[in-house]
């Protein structure tokens, strides 16, 4: 890539892929923006008309909007906290020499391969069900009243399910980082008289910051759009207790057939994702610099 000619050739070769990717992104985004300014209800075909920011004002004044925004942020932070914390704990455990290490590692990774809807169904029907669920049986065994998870603590239950799915990802990334930790550093600290807790806090954790940053950034992108787990378990309810922005958009465009309103919600969700991303990059992005 040194000469003028090779640079030009490089750009030419790249351009089809870049243009295709751009179209792939720009066209749906452009259409969504366009729809968001239209009155466009599938139940009333032929009445499409330009309405300015009317859809947006409907979306913002929707009584479900603020709860959905808060729920989204709670869901994301909750899952991040559990997966990063649990991931570090599991990474530390997996790093210990033990019998059957290979098998245990595969088992830890396994939840990641289960489809979100399937795992949500399993949690809903086999574990958290207040009548037939395992947790209810355990509670009864202990003489406690079973918890009706999706009625009483719907958002927390969803956080647990989603965290269970993302824990393997976090564990995998953190465990890989853990293995690159210099043993001699640990031994030097041991000889210098640092206890295990001190070594963990001052050597292991700083070593893991970059991996933690990667986990937080990547998971945030996916967690902002969690959908199947909510649809399968609570359907956003009771009331708006487990409605997130993604789910609100779905309810408006698919259940109320209001494409214009749904599009406006979609754009709001895109903006929110960008705000969160900028915020995160400002806060922890510097960890990624070498």
């Amino acid at each position: 890539m040194a000469t003028q000619a090779s640079r030009t050739a490089g750009r030419l070769m790249l351009s089809p892929a870049v243009i295709l990717l751009l179209l792939w992104m720009i066209v749906p985004l452009g259409m969504t923006i366009y729809f968001s300014f239209l009155r466009f209800n599938l139940l009333m075909p032929g009445t499409e008309a330009f309405t300015g920011f009317e859809n947006y004002s409907y979306f913002f004044t929707d009584p479900a909007f603020w709860p959905a925004l808060v729920n989204t942020l709670v869901l994301v932070t909750g899952v991040l906290a559990i997966t990063v914390g649990g991931g570090i704990a599991l990474a530390v455990l997996l790093d210990q020499p033990m019998w059957g290490q290979g098998l245990v590692r595969v088992l830890v990774i396994a939840p990641f391969f289960v489809m979100p809807s399937v795992s949500a169904l399993v949690w809903k029907n086999m574990l958290m069900n207040p009548v037939n669920g395992l947790f209810a049986a355990l509670a009864r065994g202990l003489g406690l009243p079973p918890i009706d998870f999706f009625a009483d603590i719907p958002l927390a239950s969803i956080i647990v399910i989603v965290a269970w799915q993302w824990l393997p990802f976090a564990t995998l990334i953190l465990f890989t980082a853990m293995q690159s930790l210099d043993r001699e550093q640990m031994e030097a600290a041991e000889m210098d008289g640092a206890g295990p807790l001190w070594r963990f806090v001052h050597l292991t954790l700083p070593h893991l910051t970059r991996a933690m940053t990667v986990v937080v950034l990547i998971q945030t992108i996916f967690l902002l759009s969690v959908f199947a787990e909510i649809l399968v378990t609570t359907n956003g309810g009771p009331g708006t207790a487990s409605t997130t922005l993604t789910f609100l958009v779905y309810m408006q465009s698919m259940l109320q057939f209001d494409v214009g309103l749904g599009s406006a919600g979609g754009i709001v969700a895109v903006l929110l994702a960008n705000i969160v991303a900028i915020f995160l990059m400002r806060m922890i992005g510097k960890n990624l610099e070498a």
Partner: protein
């Protein structure tokens, strides 16, 4: 104080025995070098002394007290690792002060000791840098600084210079020797480089496959190697080893003669032709193909200039011949 006594120390990893019964006495203030080929167990032995590995059997006594089951921090030893093992998130100052901080020493006292160490090691301008902003030699100095502030009863070095370039190695080697002269603290130094061993040690311990082959001062090992292994390991270039009738003539299975103990003389008993001729300026190393003996390395004066294929006659210095029996053990010196 820093007297370390190993008795019948053994170490196995799983089924493989890596250290096979080591008895060794290291006197207070001595500079001891463990030398041996890569994989012979030098690091493992050092780590056993440090307490980073548990002995399988045997005892380690430090200053007369049994330290076999003491944790590393309680042994009063400081170690300098091959990878330096600096804490990457801490400044040089914090790295050096770290053991003091762990020992609960006051901040002023820490700073005083760090400054003193930085002065000795020429690190004063770098105290606020992170390890990643230092060169290899500077990192090594920081690692040494971290070891000295503890005022340990002995220093342990595991191939501390092997990541440095050749010129820096020589100067760091001298710095460590000087440090030993001024501190007079026991030092145990592991290396696979016999030049480092010869130049630095008061006492060299030659290890091979988890066993001690010989212990002695550099010149003892050079002059009277106990066996073929030590003979060929110590000295550069390597000792020439000759078997067959020529060795039998001297009543040995193997005859050893160092390159510097072969003279080029017109009426020498060995005749051959020059293979290659390496000029170092001060010396010239000749590879000579001698009839009936094979290739011999000969060290000659710097002004010797011979071309490939030149005929040459050689004479070994008779009082410098080493004789070994069939098992590789040294026999008494050949009588002149």
């Amino acid at each position: 104080m820093g007297e370390i006594v190993l008795s019948q120390v053994r170490k196995s990893f799983g089924g493989t025995s890596v250290i096979q019964g080591i008895d060794l006495r290291i006197e207070d203030g001595e500079f001891v070098v463990f030398v041996g080929p890569s994989g012979c167990g030098k690091s493992t032995l050092l780590r056993l002394i440090a307490g980073l590995e548990d002995t399988t059997s045997g005892t380690i006594a430090i200053d007369g007290h049994d330290a076999t089951s003491l944790p590393p921090a309680k042994r009063g030893l400081a170690m300098v690792f091959q990878s330096y093992a600096l804490y990457p998130h801490m400044s040089v100052r914090k790295n050096i002060a770290f053991p003091l901080r762990m020992a609960g020493i006051s901040a002023e006292e820490q700073e005083r000791k760090v400054q003193a160490a930085a002065k000795v090691l020429n690190l004063a301008p770098y105290l606020d840098r992170k390890p990643s902003q230092l060169s290899g030699g500077q990192r090594q100095r920081v690692a040494i600084g971290r070891a000295i502030v503890r005022e340990p009863s002995a220093f342990l070095f595991d191939e501390p210079l092997s990541n440095l370039d050749a010129a820096l190695r020589v100067s760091m080697r001298q710095e460590i020797s000087e440090l030993h002269q001024s501190l007079k603290t026991t030092m145990i130094y592991v290396t696979h480089d016999q030049v480092e061993a010869m130049t630095m040690a008061d006492k060299i311990v030659v290890l091979n496959a988890g066993r001690i082959e010989q212990v002695g001062s550099p010149l003892e090992l050079y002059k009277t190697p106990a066996n073929l292994f030590v003979a060929s390991f110590i000295g550069s270039p390597k000792m020439n080893l000759v078997e067959g009738p020529e060795a039998a003539k001297h009543g040995a299975h193997t005859l050893g003669v160092r390159p510097e103990h072969i003279d080029i003389v017109a009426e020498g008993p060995w005749s051959g032709t020059v293979g290659i001729c390496e000029h170092l300026g001060s010396d010239t190393f000749l590879k000579v193909h001698v009839e009936g003996l094979g290739a011999l390395t000969v060290r000659a004066g710097g002004e010797v200039d011979l071309v490939h294929g030149a005929p040459i006659r050689l004479a070994p210095q008779p009082d410098k011949l080493h004789r070994f029996d069939g098992a590789g053990e040294a026999l008494a010196k050949a009588l002149a």
